[in-house]
């Protein structure tokens, strides 16, 4: 289908009229309407007047409330564990889930402001999404040195986990898997 999109030559109407005369396109629906009721000013491209002095065209940046959460998420965790797939329009990245969880917890209002971020991380861990902190390469080098000390700490931490499980058996079993996961995830190089 032919068409002329060079917006600087004449107006849409003149371009379509010429193309029609040649016989390259068929008559569009709006052609007769435009011919009968043309606008006051023919829409020819005009170079915008150069602005002098301090007059600036203010285009407000597009910011959302979720951007604060997203900025913090990306600063701490880097790019998400899953690569982005921009071709799907209904794609939900890890960051989006994080943001939605964050907003849910915020609306519930039970957790304090400072702890909201960590709580969202733990909630995501519970649902199976593992988040790796940024700067893992530097951390891994240090971990090799600290591996021995960490091994000795592990049994102590496992003991505390066991004690907590025994204590909280009365409260309910829902919290224990989360606790166990977070306790195990925290000392591991992440």
């Amino acid at each position: 289908m032919a068409g002329n999109r060079m917006q600087k030559i004449g107006s849409v109407f003149s371009r379509t009229r010429n193309l029609l005369r040649i016989g390259v396109i068929e008559k569009p629906l709006w052609f007769d309407v435009y011919a009968a009721f043309p606008p006051l000013r023919e829409p020819v491209y005009r170079v915008p007047r150069p602005r002098y002095g301090k007059v600036k065209d203010v285009i407000p940046p597009i910011f959302y409330q979720e951007d604060e959460v997203r900025a913090r998420f990306y600063r701490i965790y880097g790019s998400g564990p899953r690569p982005f797939d921009l071709s799907q329009s209904n794609y939900k990245s890890t960051c989006q889930r994080f943001v939605e969880k964050f907003n849910e917890l915020k609306e519930e209002g039970k957790i304090e402001e400072e702890k909201l971020f960590e709580e969202t991380g733990k909630a995501l861990l519970a649902s199976g999404i593992i988040l790796q902190r940024r700067g893992t390469d530097k951390a891994a080098q240090q971990d090799h040195q600290d591996a021995e000390t960490r091994d000795s700490l592990l049994p102590l931490q496992l003991q505390t986990v066991l004690e907590k499980i025994q204590e909280k058996k009365k409260d309910g079993e829902e919290q224990t898997p989360e606790l166990a996961e977070t306790q195990k995830e925290d000392p591991l190089p992440s």
């Binding site: 979720e66 900025a71 880097g78 790019s79 690569p83 982005f84 071709s87 799907q88």
Partner: protein, 105 residues
């Protein structure tokens, strides 16, 4: 649904700034050693065929990229507007590993 609400929830806005983000792309054109990869952004990116598994990169292959820039633009001295290359900038990381990838939404 309005455009504004769809934009707010679109994957492009979810990604935010494109620097150092991992994305999945598809090769749509090959010119000897140059691979033209489309990852869903405004422009495609062009990468060199890597030496490891070079033959596996054909038309339609899914690859992993680290995005650097969504559009390569810069303003030259004396110009009123930026000059654009109509290309994005990305580093090719490798093929998408199908067997390890879990089935997620």
């Amino acid at each position: 649904e309005s455009f504004a609400s769809m934009l707010r929830r679109s994957p492009l806005i979810q990604m935010g700034p494109a620097k150092d983000k991992i994305a999945v792309g598809r090769i749509f054109h090959v010119v000897e050693d140059d691979l033209y990869i489309d990852f869903g952004g405004k422009f495609h990116c062009v990468c060199k065929r890597p030496e490891v598994d070079g033959k596996k990169y054909q038309r339609g292959t899914q690859v992993r990229l680290r995005l650097l820039d969504l559009e390569l633009t810069s303003r030259f001295l004396g110009a009123t507007t930026d000059t654009t290359l109509l290309e994005a900038d990305a580093v090719l990381l490798g093929l998408v590993e199908r067997k390890q990838a879990k089935r997620k939404e």
